[in-house]
């Protein structure tokens, strides 16, 4: 699909043996993954597979219990605040609910990263934000408040804000969630256009199979906190791994009952 490349400076993102725990619960178990320059990597998995947790670590919102996340070769847990601020300018994020500021107009939401991180002239900032609103087909909506937008429009406004700084890597959390199939397909096409025009690397976390197959160069399948497989759409679709088949056919895992353990869970502490 794309001409994604392992650039001379290495992959854009490298996750190495990442372990993440919430309390005693291990959510990610020695996850390793690379994202190449210009590729769309879709991270898929069922609910509770760890995909949203993995995204939080990629965004530097949590520090690994062990292992490392490197973006452009830099271990993000070891960056100074100034280094992290610089790196963040190269990263765009489109959150699941849009995360637009409800008290700001759409235009001001899109302008915000530029006003915060650059010293560009205000005219330049406004032209840049309007260009991005054109890209996401929201031209003329800049004066509206987020509450006046539909779900699809909120996603597109969030995307305009995510790309306003021309990031080198773009993250999407469940871009199609809550959208009807037509709007979701429009958003998929938009993601592909942006990747092709800007040569940006894109990481998408989703559980939507159709969307994943439409946009992915490679898919990483997460299952119970572990990488089940990483491969092209074709490789994933042809996989004969039963867990992969179950995820693709949405078959729930049949639970094997350990009688001893089950009885223990039911009766422990019961007089």
């Amino acid at each position: 699909m794309s001409a994604c490349v392992e650039s001379a400076v290495g992959p854009v993102i490298e996750v190495e043996d990442l372990v993440a725990c919430y309390g005693n619960q291990r959510i990610l178990d020695r996850v390793s993954l690379t994202v190449r320059q210009g590729e769309i990597m879709v991270i898929m998995g069922g609910s509770g597979s760890g995909k949203s947790t993995l995204l939080r670590y990629l965004l530097g919102l949590r520090r690994p219990d062990s292992g490392a996340v490197r973006i452009f070769g830099k271990d993000i847990a070891r960056l100074s605040s100034a280094e992290w601020r610089e790196l963040r300018k190269k990263m765009g994020v489109s959150f699941q609910g849009g995360a637009l500021f409800s008290s700001m107009t759409v235009g001001d939401n899109v302008c915000m990263p530029l006003r915060e991180h650059t010293r560009l002239d205000e005219k330049t900032i406004r032209i840049m934000s309007r260009m991005k609103l054109e890209v996401v087909n929201l031209a003329g909506f800049e004066h509206l408040m987020p509450a006046q937008l539909s779900g699809g429009m909120i996603k597109r406004a969030a995307l305009a804000r995510a790309i306003v700084m021309d990031p080198s890597v773009l993250f999407f959390d469940e871009p199609s969630a809550g959208l009807d199939p037509v709007v979701a397909a429009d958003l998929d096409r938009l993601i592909l256009r942006i990747r092709d025009a800007l040569r940006v690397s894109i990481v998408v976390v989703t559980h939507e199979l159709e969307s994943a197959f439409a946009i992915a160069d490679r898919i990483a399948l997460l299952d119970h906190g572990r990488i089940l497989m990483v491969g092209s759409v074709d490789e994933v679709q042809r996989s004969d791994n039963q867990r992969v088949r179950n995820l693709l056919t949405r078959t729930s895992e049949e639970q094997v009952v350990d009688v001893e353990e089950y009885l223990c869970r039911l009766t422990e502490g019961v007089e």
Binding site: T118, R119, L120, D121, K123, T124, I127, M128, M131, K132, E134, V135, V164, M165, D166, R193, I194, D196, A197, L198
Partner: protein, 110 residues
Amino acid sequence: MAFPVEDKHGFSVITLKGEVDLKNSPDARKVILNNLKKRRHVLVDLSGVEYIDSSGVASLVEGLQYARSNDLGFSLVGVSEAAMNVLRLARLDQVFRIYASLEDGLHGGG
């Protein structure tokens, strides 16, 4: 970075080179607007541009808008594929007058 300006056949030919991004696009904007404010027709030569970001493109848009409001010529020449991709994304390839070469731009009247 200083962007060179040459006087050719009544045009100010402004040459943008290398990477035009947040760091130097304010300089590009300044040189474009300064020449237009002197009532010069402007050709912006992008043939040496390896990368141009939205701030660079926004400077071109502002130049075009100023030129149109003041009956001045403003065209782009030698737009590289990378730059064209960025223009196309926001359909700006349909907004700018674009010439394949400087020669064409000079003969095309800006």
